[in-house]
Symmetry: C2
Subunit: 391 residues, 2 copies
């Protein structure tokens, strides 16, 4: 086990009507002028935005609306919102939405208190986030885990490059209100993309070269099993509140750092997928459902130990199965599971009829360096092999 | 899944030399006058206390020592320390030790800011803790999980009654420095008593009547499996740092609330054990090793579903085994595991040659009410049955 720091101070209020606590929480947090960040029309049409706004107003807190954040969010709206924060003396941000909205809120929060330059400096690595406006969340899409993480991903609109930043605590939301009932109305494709995303968050951390992290391994396997069981229940009945609740809470634990304690992490699959969603604007989770099994399949010949262990423990692959074969079976089992959920597992399933692997390889190494060092180091030739397994 | 709040804002710094960060952390926390609470002579003899004191002094923070806290800590020293806190304008407390020291520090922290009465009011339920001095921890015994919890247990010196209080966040330590190497020198009986204690913390939460808590169930099972595997490695080699590290971190997660999210909890075994440690001053964890298998065995005839599920998932009891039989096998497996660790599993093993079951039943219901309602409600006759299974 490696030495580690773990600080996850987000306060979670989970369950029925949690979103109605926005006002109380904003007031308790000492905020007077809120920027309310949200996405498209679904929060408006469902009445959620009105309920939240009313709760905040009733607590005597002022609200400025800032909507229209799109999936794979870009830098432009962040700058726009930073200007509003300064003009209106915003002292707290509430994000109502999923990962895209929350990540945008985080970028705004950091940028609003950074007067020496542009917020993008944090994403290029020129500066680290030292201070940020405090953030509260009303979660509507269990997927990205941003409600409990210190991380954010923003796409550079000039070149479609997705860039992640990671802070220990500076960008962790102060609180997150999580009502699983809000997710009952999610379209199926969004539900399952979220499931693939949270499973990837766990497996990216599971694929570690650090030995002797049994406690973190076992928690990760447990979360994966709980997610898969709940996902299959949802497939039977998308209105199953209990399954939605298990998935929502799992998505938070998948990404709040719990599954990373004491070890290095992989993140190769996310890097491979970011290229695809940058070029084709595919849904991140759907892209991961294509990428992850291919990555595991590739590893079967290179570094099968951890994928084999995963398969033995969560897919009941017999103990005595040799590592290579067990890793291949793990890749198959993952593909089978994702297919059961109607997720794509090939380029064609993503709507990419003529994959341009040389282009993906070029983008991948342009953005991530050569070799890309995760669980197993990738040089361009190998990166091409992994992408080829997605055909 | 039940609605829940979860807020675990303790900052963990885990790994080699973590205790040397005491000074930096105290200064960063803005503390000027520390009360350093510790236990017996082991922290002095090992040089730990000196190292910590030096680190704090080097950060320019003043230290007042307050040692001598004993296992199953009582109220007297708490009052003494509260007086010192007020006299010396103490603004932060650092606990160097295990659960007894940390729990004492928590009681001091709450009492020091309560001017309208005696700190015991919190334990009798007359008042709830609203404010407390901030606490930092250097953990030396992985067992009680107090380093990450908002709970404390103090024994009433007048009648030997152990009383617990539970706060959502008010008594959670601000930070905990966790160096597994400090636990390499723990005597074997203390090591294994700690293991039984943390396993009980998980199983108390696992025995729930709340359905559909798959995510929390799976995390709990994962922690138990990790603890058992690491414990058997330690039995082979008590100097195994990695096994110590896995156990230390598991002990924190066992009790910081993670395993309770979304469900009601049992705590019958702790209540049964508190009677024994109050009368005989037995080690809490050793007492739990006797109590827990008996409780599971008793449940086999009453409410076997959850014990059976536990056994199937962590002891590989075949799926098709009927619930009652699976629960009995779970009790056997637990006894077998504890015995392998040289823990007692009977009254005789605890050194109680002539158990006085009527007395235990009387104390139990005097302290906890009739019926005691946990996973399965206990009336005196049934309580006697459970104690009888410890013979």
């Amino acid at each position: 086990m490696q030495d580690f720091n773990f600080w996850a101070p987000t306060r979670y209020i989970f369950g029925h009507d949690a979103e109605l606590k926005t006002g109380i929480m904003a007031a308790q947090s000492g905020w007077n002028n809120i920027l309310l960040v949200y996405g498209g029309q679904s929060a408006v049409k469902s009445g959620l935005l009105d309920r939240v706004r009313k709760a905040i107003n009733e607590a005597g807190v002022s609200v400025t609306l800032f909507g229209g954040i799109r999936p794979n969010p870009v830098d432009g709206p962040v700058r726009e919102a930073i200007a509003i924060c300064r003009e209106k003396n915003i002292d707290g941000i509430i994000a109502v939405g999923g990962g895209s909205v929350i990540d945008t809120a985080k970028a705004i929060a950091a940028g609003a208190l950074y007067f020496e330059g542009d917020f993008w400096d944090f994403f290029t690595g020129k500066r680290v986030v030292e201070a940020a406006l405090p953030i509260g969340v009303v979660l509507t899409i269990p997927a990205a885990g941003s409600e409990g993480s210190g991380n954010a991903v923003i796409t550079d609109s000039r070149n479609s490059q997705k860039i992640s930043i990671r802070t220990e605590y500076q960008l962790r939301p102060k609180w997150a209100l999580m009502n699983p009932a809000l997710t009952l109305s999610l379209p199926w494709h969004q539900t399952v993309a979220g499931i693939a995303d949270m499973m990837a968050h766990i497996m990216e951390r599971y694929l570690t070269t650090t030995p002797d992290v049994e406690v973190t391994d076992r928690i990760s396997e447990g979360l994966l099993m709980a997610i898969m069981k709940s996902a299959l229940k949802l497939k039977e009945n998308p209105d199953d509140y209990e399954a939605r609740a298990n998935i929502m809470w799992s998505g938070t634990l998948a990404h709040n750092g719990t599954c990373g304690c004491g070890r290095n992490e992989d993140w190769t699959s996310h890097a491979l997928e970011h290229v695809l969603s940058a070029i084709y604007d595919v849904t991140h989770g759907a892209g991961l459902a294509v990428v992850f099994p291919a990555w595991i399949q590739f590893l079967a010949d290179k570094a099968p130990e951890k994928p084999a262990m995963l398969g033995r423990r969560i897919f009941n692959i017999p103990e005595q199965t040799p590592d290579r074969e067990a890793a291949l079976l793990t890749a198959d089992a993952l593909r089978g599971f994702f297919s059961q959920l109607d997720l794509p597992v090939t380029f064609a399933g993503l709507g990419i009829e003529n994959p341009d692997i040389p282009l993906y390889v070029e983008y991948f190494h342009r953005d991530k360096g050569t070799p890309y060092v995760g669980y197993y180091p990738l040089y361009p030739e190998e990166t091409a092999q992994v992408y080829a397994l997605m055909k």
